[in-house]
């Protein structure tokens, strides 16, 4: 009896292991478990027949069948784990997405290139310690011209063809009147920039009846032309790259003396000459100068104590150069194909 059982156990182990090795999936594994370890299973039936052995024979057979049971259980557990994993792998492998479909999101809108450029300009100057102020667009002749050294019938008025509005007002032709407002409201030292819309009666590829400027003013003790050059060179380098050539050349504005225009090396051709820079290799990007005593006199700033410089630049001009835009009117058409490029 004992030997027969031991024999049976050995056979059972061999057969069970062979069977387990061939199990293809979890359901087959379960069938296998039931066959050997289930309530009616082969191992269970041997365990049940232990009671028929003599007490001397029982421990040995009992030990053998328990070993067989443990081994089978452990192998079965391993197998089930392996099969479960393989099945998961298979089903995951089947869950294939087209990862080239776009992600779900609200597509961001675009900021207008003029606003982006203005922001960039202001950022450079505020980084240098300039405050920001604004002034009205509908102005008086006094602020737009008179206080800036352009009395009535002055030839410099030709430089800016003006829109007039009812009530004796006009649309400011530049942001320079903000200089006057600021100096009327604040004693020096002053270090500020003034962004805003301006208007001139012009309309073609390079002129828009409305455009934008950023004006700047610095008034302090001992401000000289070298300071003007330092600040505006820094601006040009930050705006157009530290390698870009910058030159200052004499010019004329009624409200600055000495006056200068600032050119940067052509960003299109790199200075070798092209259509944009009219073969000169240079692009004019801003006007500037030392504040004219006439202006200081109007706002009662003592020129013995204070001196300063002012500058003004066209935002469209800078944006056109920066983004290589060839027609100023594109900014105001608002064609989405244009706006989406920035």
């Amino acid at each position: 009896m004992k030997d027969r059982l031991l024999q049976e156990i050995a056979v059972l182990r061999r057969e069970a292991e062979a069977e387990l090795a061939a199990v293809p999936d979890t359901s087959a594994a379960e069938a296998c478990r039931v066959k050997y370890l289930g309530r009616q299973g082969l191992v269970t039936s041997i365990l049940k027949s232990l009671k028929d052995l003599s007490p001397e024979e029982r421990p040995e057979v009992g030990r053998e069948i328990n070993i067989a049971k443990e081994i089978l259980e452990s192998k079965l557990a391993d197998l089930r784990e392996r099969l479960k994993h393989a099945e998961l792998e298979r089903s995951v492998a089947a869950q294939r997405l087209d990862i080239t479909l776009p992600g779900r999101r609200t597509k961001r809108g675009k900021r207008h290139p003029l606003r982006q450029t203005t922001r960039e300009i202001l950022q450079i100057f505020t980084d240098m310690g300039f405050s920001v102020h604004r002034g009205p667009e509908i102005e008086t002749d006094y602020y737009n011209f008179e206080a800036l050294g352009v009395p009535a019938d002055h030839p410099a008025r030709d430089m800016q063809d003006t829109f007039y509005v009812e009530g004796g007002y006009l649309l400011r032709t530049h942001t320079s009147p903000v200089q006057i407002h600021v100096m009327e409201n604040q004693r020096p030292p002053i270090c500020a920039v003034f962004p805003g819309a301006v208007y001139r009666r012009d309309n073609d590829v390079s002129h828009s009846p409305m455009f934008h400027q950023v004006e700047g003013l610095m008034v302090d003790r001992n401000i000289s032309m070298r300071d003007l050059k330092g600040v505006l060179s820094t601006f040009c380098h930050r705006m157009f790259g530290s390698g870009v050539g910058v030159r200052f050349r004499p010019s004329y504005f009624p409200f600055t003396e000495p006056s200068a225009e600032v050119d940067i090396q052509c960003v299109i051709c790199g200075g070798s000459g092209c259509r944009v820079c009219k073969q000169s290799g240079w692009l004019e990007i801003l006007g500037c100068g030392m504040v004219d005593p006439v202006v200081f006199e109007k706002v009662k700033v003592d020129t013995k104590k204070w001196s300063g410089f002012a500058f003004g630049m066209g935002v469209e001009r800078i944006a056109m150069l920066k983004y290589a835009i060839n027609d100023i009117r594109l900014f105001y058409e608002n064609d989405m194909r244009f706006l989406e490029q920035f």
Binding site: T106, D153, V165, G167, C191, S224, F248
Partner: protein, 687 residues
């Protein structure tokens, strides 16, 4: 100003190549816009700034060339040929307006033979862009280009009454200028008159009647100095700008008027023969003397930030033709010739020094100033926040002109303030300043739709303009407006067919309000609809108790005016009003609960006309303290519901801060809410 180099060389030595000369002039403040070759001739095109009237001449440019290259000027003296007879016997000249006519000189030439100009003269004029007419007229243009003095030649036979009088027009009258246009001279215009009336608009253009023609045999030459502002006023009013008026406006040298007359006499006699008068008329009652200015080395250093020794300063000024004398302690006294009326103050001299010294030689530096914190305009942060929120909500920014078509703006005007009118618009469609950004947004929408772009989400953030009620400056508040049209998400692969509707526009407004922390105090209200909005699909937006804007579907009538057959959704908010409100909003922390909440979903059926906000309000006000949140998560109409009824699915959340809730409490709370809904709104619980 076009300058042929060969002509220039008659006045100054030029030893540098044209390109080098162009560079030196440009860097000295006379901008050379181009250098072109025309046959053997090299011509520079100069951009002359309005302060440098003296450089509207070959002689003036020659002085600049001498200054920037260090070359020597070639002095040229012109003398009128000897003549016969006295001017007093031929014509009586008088100046009535001495403030407007600073100097007047004239000379007659008899026996001239009017004919074609010599080719050299015609060629030079052509190179400068002036058409050849005849030898006499060409001579006057030639001398103008050479000296900068505008000159005029009258047909002596057409001067009536042997009289010339420079006087102001006393009352409006017609006058035909030599371009054949009949113009109206008005009181205060300066005219050259003969015995019977005007023969020229002084300093601007001569008259057709006294023009030199092929049959002319005797001429009267005029060289004068007229006051610039008066010339400019008349020229602007007549819309008549000439080579002559351009120079007078910018100022001519009164002390070389006579030299120009002599040069012209010489040239006419050379090319058209004739015998000049032995003398000339010269009326110059108040002689203009050179300005005397004092400059110091220190003042130059203070302005430029660099020490330039007095000796160098004096040398630069001398090169410019100024008379500079050095005194003690770095002082320099300068006498400024009258050909440079733009130099009247020491600072003007400093500019001269700087530009000839070279702006390039001044080294840039960082200003030494006391540090102070920067300030930004009020609401700049709010502006930034709103624009970011709008971009985040998928809206793209447009920039609109400040002016619009008055007619296009009419539907949007409503009861708001009136628009500011432009007195001299470029065109009717830019006739008034905008009082709303919506017309501009509609224009942008139309343009895009016409270019096959039919899904749009646009916003604008800029000023609008209100005419003041009385006198005084206009109000320029800022507005933020948006327009939505077409599909909600055209690039989506799942939802690309969904059309935008009212709630998309409202959602964008919510995003704007949220960016300023205003959602809690904002409400949407019906009310009187503005004419441009769909009366059933619009809302007033209120913050606190202030109306801050509107949102809604554009009235189909209005959309059609722009050729848009689409449903267009718009909003416009007063930026300043909402920015103001944003100031006060500071978040306040409330303790986080450590106990779980309980969520119960219910569905109720109510009348279609009951707005959602009423349902929420009823729940909130039902007096259930445990209520911690209400969320509407579905609305259903149709099958299973009676006509005019809707089902609303609501998620209720209950909690207490001090302990976990019991089932009984939650059931009681939910019961209370349901009965309150049924009592107030006649809501039925949907099972």
């Amino acid at each position: 100003m076009r300058v042929p180099l060969e002509w220039l060389k008659e006045f100054v030595e030029i030893r540098v190549k044209p390109e080098r000369l162009a560079h030196l002039l440009t860097m000295g403040g006379i901008e050379v816009e181009s250098v072109e070759s025309l046959g053997r001739e090299t011509i520079m095109e100069l951009g002359i700034t309005p302060n440098r009237g003296d450089c509207l001449s070959i002689a003036g440019v020659a002085r600049e060339v001498a200054a920037v290259t260090g070359a020597r000027l070639k002095p040229r003296k012109f003398a009128a040929p000897r003549g016969e007879g006295r001017m007093a016997d031929r014509v009586k000249v008088s100046v009535k307006s001495r403030s407007r006519c600073i100097r007047y000189t004239a000379r007659a030439i008899e026996g001239v033979k009017v004919g074609p100009s010599p080719s050299w003269m015609a060629a030079r004029l052509a190179a400068c862009g002036i058409r050849s007419i005849n030898n006499v007229v060409d001579a006057s243009n030639y001398v103008m280009l050479e000296t900068g003095h505008p000159l005029h030649v009258f047909d002596m036979a057409r001067i009536r009454g042997s009289r010339i009088e420079v006087s102001l027009v006393e009352s409006a009258r017609q006058f035909t200028t030599l371009d054949g246009v009949v113009r109206t001279l008005e009181k205060g215009d300066l005219a050259i008159c003969d015995g019977e009336g005007p023969v020229a608009v002084a300093g601007i253009m001569g008259g057709g009647d006294s023009e030199v023609s092929q049959s002319t045999t005797s001429v009267l030459l005029e060289s004068a100095c007229f006051e610039g502002k008066g010339i400019r006023r008349t020229s602007r009013r007549l819309g008549l700008a000439s080579e002559s008026s351009r120079r007078f406006e910018r100022g001519v040298d009164p002390n070389s008027v006579l030299a120009a007359l002599n040069r012209l006499t010489e040239l006419i006699v050379d090319t058209a023969e004739g015998t000049p008068a032995a003398d000339c008329v010269d009326i110059y009652p108040a002689k203009i003397a050179p300005a005397r200015l004092a400059l110091t080395e220190d003042a130059v250093e203070r302005m430029l930030g660099e020490n330039i020794p007095a000796a160098s300063i004096a040398k630069i000024l001398t090169r410019l033709g100024l008379d500079a004398k050095r005194g003690a302690k770095g002082r320099i006294s300068v006498s400024v010739p009258t050909f440079r009326p733009d130099i009247s103050r020491p600072v003007d001299l400093i500019e001269e020094v700087a530009r000839i010294y070279g702006y390039d030689r001044l080294e840039g530096k960082t200003p030494l100033v006391c540090m102070s914190p920067i300030v930004r305009p009020r609401f700049m942060d709010q502006e930034q926040a709103i624009c970011e929120a709008l971009a985040g909500a998928g809206m793209s920014e447009v920039v609109l002109y400040g002016f619009v078509d008055d007619r296009a703006q009419a539907p949007f005007a409503g009861l708001g303030p009136a628009a500011v009118k432009i007195a001299n618009p470029l065109s009717q469609d830019q006739g008034v300043m905008c009082t709303s950004l919506l017309p501009g947004l509609m224009d942008a929408a139309r343009l895009n739709v016409n270019r096959q772009r039919t899904d749009l989400k646009l916003f604008a953030f800029q000023h609008i303009y209100h005419r003041p009620a009385g006198a005084g400056p206009s109000d320029e508040p800022r507005s933020v407006a948006g327009l939505l049209l077409g599909r909600r998400d055209p690039s989506s692969w799942e939802r690309s067919r969904e059309q935008l509707d009212f709630y998309d526009a409202k959602g964008v407004v919510d995003a704007v309000l949220d960016s300023l922390g205003l959602v809690q105090i904002s409400v949407y209200q019906r009310g009187e609809p503005p004419a441009f909005l769909h009366p059933g699909r619009f809302a007033h937006v209120l913050c606190g108790n202030t109306r801050v804007g509107v949102v809604g579907q554009l009235h189909p009538d209005v959309a059609v005016k722009w050729g848009l057959e689409h449903e267009v959704f718009v909003f416009e908010l007063h930026f300043d009003l909402i920015a103001e409100k944003a100031q006060a909003v500071v978040p306040r922390f409330s303790e986080l609960s450590r106990f779980p909440f309980v969520q119960r979903d219910i569905a109720i059926v109510v009348d279609e006309r009951i707005p959602l906000v009423e349902v929420e309000k009823t729940i909130q006000e039902s007096g259930v303290e445990l209520l911690d949140g209400v969320n509407i998560f579905d609305i259903y109409r149709g099958k299973g519901l009676a006509e005019g009824r809707k089902s609303i699915a609501i998620s209720l959340r209950f909690s207490r801060e001090d302990r976990t809730l019991t089932d009984d409490e939650v059931v009681a709370a939910q019961q209370k809410i349901v009965s309150e809904l049924s009592r107030t709104l006649k809501a039925e619980l949907r099972e």
